[in-house]
Amino acid sequence: MKPYLFVLVFFFSLNIGLWSQKDSTNSRPAWAAGLYGSISAGYGAFPNPFKHVSVAGASLPKTGGVLQFDAGIMFRNQIGLRLVMGAVSTNDIGAELGRSVAAKYPGYIVTYVPRSEGNNGMADHFSVGLTYSIPRQRWFFQPELLFGSTEIYTESAYAQIKELGTHRVIVHQLYPDYQDYRSPTLTFGGRAAWYAGRYFGFFADAHVLTMWYKVQYQVEKTTLIEQTVEKETIQLKKTSFGTTASVGIFLQIARWEGKGVRLKGGFR
């Protein structure tokens, strides 16, 4: 989203919120359920292979940014449902692959060179799961557990393995079985949201993301002195954790009012 568009939407939403606050009274019954949509931006701290290169195209390069849209239904003090789709800073499996090759040749100098552009994109992330909404005055807190998948770009690569003190070099050509791979994910976290208006508010999210990936590579190993070629299949199998924190705005698209419940301190 263009920054000026974001600012425009933000102030428009703020106006709606302030306007709706004017006619709210303490006597309004509490909401019982709502449909909502939200947008947030934040930062993700992922270990390799989830190296940050770019996010949302080229707008925030090398920031580790996270852009997220979600929608769902929530029920007061009950379990709700949330669907999340977003973009995370792209993952770079190369570092992990380079380490994996280096681990096989202790005492050698390993130079790893990615061959494709897989490490220069934006990875999408989808997940769906359960939330639980706990309202407090103008706030609500929403722990959540989501299941989904994240795109992982694999890449062709070249590794030069050189023995120290001699001319001995082994060249590895690495080709992934699949260029694109989706890793299953489990997200655990929560949201703290504050109603600025009846249908509008701000929130902060914090998540821990777990990924399991298993990527297979075909390796062609050439020894430069002996001129021998050997083929091998290697597999990168790992569980990786990442954390994201983001802030955003939400719009409660529709809400159903409860009956006979009156709350202090606002228009909930």
């Binding site: 003190g165 060249v171 430069l224 002195i225």
Partner: protein, 193 residues
């Protein structure tokens, strides 16, 4: 002849002239010449061969031959262009001789088979036997530099440490040209450890 025939012919000409054909890529194939040869010893004990003084480990000895490149305007070619430059006066043979005898090698013997050319470019990395290196010696790939380099590694070094002398002969296919006359180097004495 109906007018539309002319129109079609004109359109085809336009396509050939302005269409996205590869004809313009002919500019990529140009020639270069070499001159002002120099040499230095290499130490290949690390990740890359580096120039060194006269003392080096036997297992990591190399020779770097370098020359100035004439005829290439590297600023005209983007690194991503699939261009290559061919030698106007190709190197026909690159040979290395033992100035002094060692092991079973006699004085003045051709020991080229103990060496390999370290042929590395954007697309590949190989050790090439000197008698098979003609392609690698005479074609340059991007990124182009004003200096031409040949890194030659000694894969079968002398069995004993000590002082050794080698010489290099470069023979060109085109003789009697002002540039690229056959070149003979006697390299400085190297102390092998």
């Amino acid at each position: 002849m109906p007018r539309f025939i002319y129109l079609i012919a004109l359109s085809l000409c336009g396509l050939f002239l302005f269409g996205n054909f590869q004809c313009g890529k002919d500019d990529c194939w140009q020639s270069f010449s070499l001159g002002d040869w120099q040499s230095t010893w290499l130490d290949n004990s690390g990740s890359e061969p580096i120039p060194t003084q006269n003392s080096v480990s036997r297992a990591a000895l190399g020779i770097r031959l370098s020359a100035n490149v004439f005829g290439i305007d590297s600023t005209q070619v983007a690194p991503e262009d699939a261009c290559a430059w061919e030698a106007a006066h190709p190197i026909g043979q690159l040979e290395i001789f033992a100035t002094d005898g060692f092991d079973t090698v006699e004085t003045g013997q051709n020991i080229s088979n103990r060496f390999r050319l370290r042929a590395i470019n954007t697309y590949s990395f190989k050790y090439v036997a000197l008698d098979e290196a003609r392609g690698a010696l005479n074609v340059l790939y991007p990124p182009f530099a004003s200096e031409y380099r040949l890194d030659i590694l000694m894969l079968e070094p002398p069995s004993q440490p000590g002082a050794y002398r080698f010489s290099v002969q470069i023979k060109f296919d085109t003789l009697n040209m002002p540039l690229n006359r056959d070149t003979f180097f006697t390299l400085p004495t190297v102390i092998l450890q």
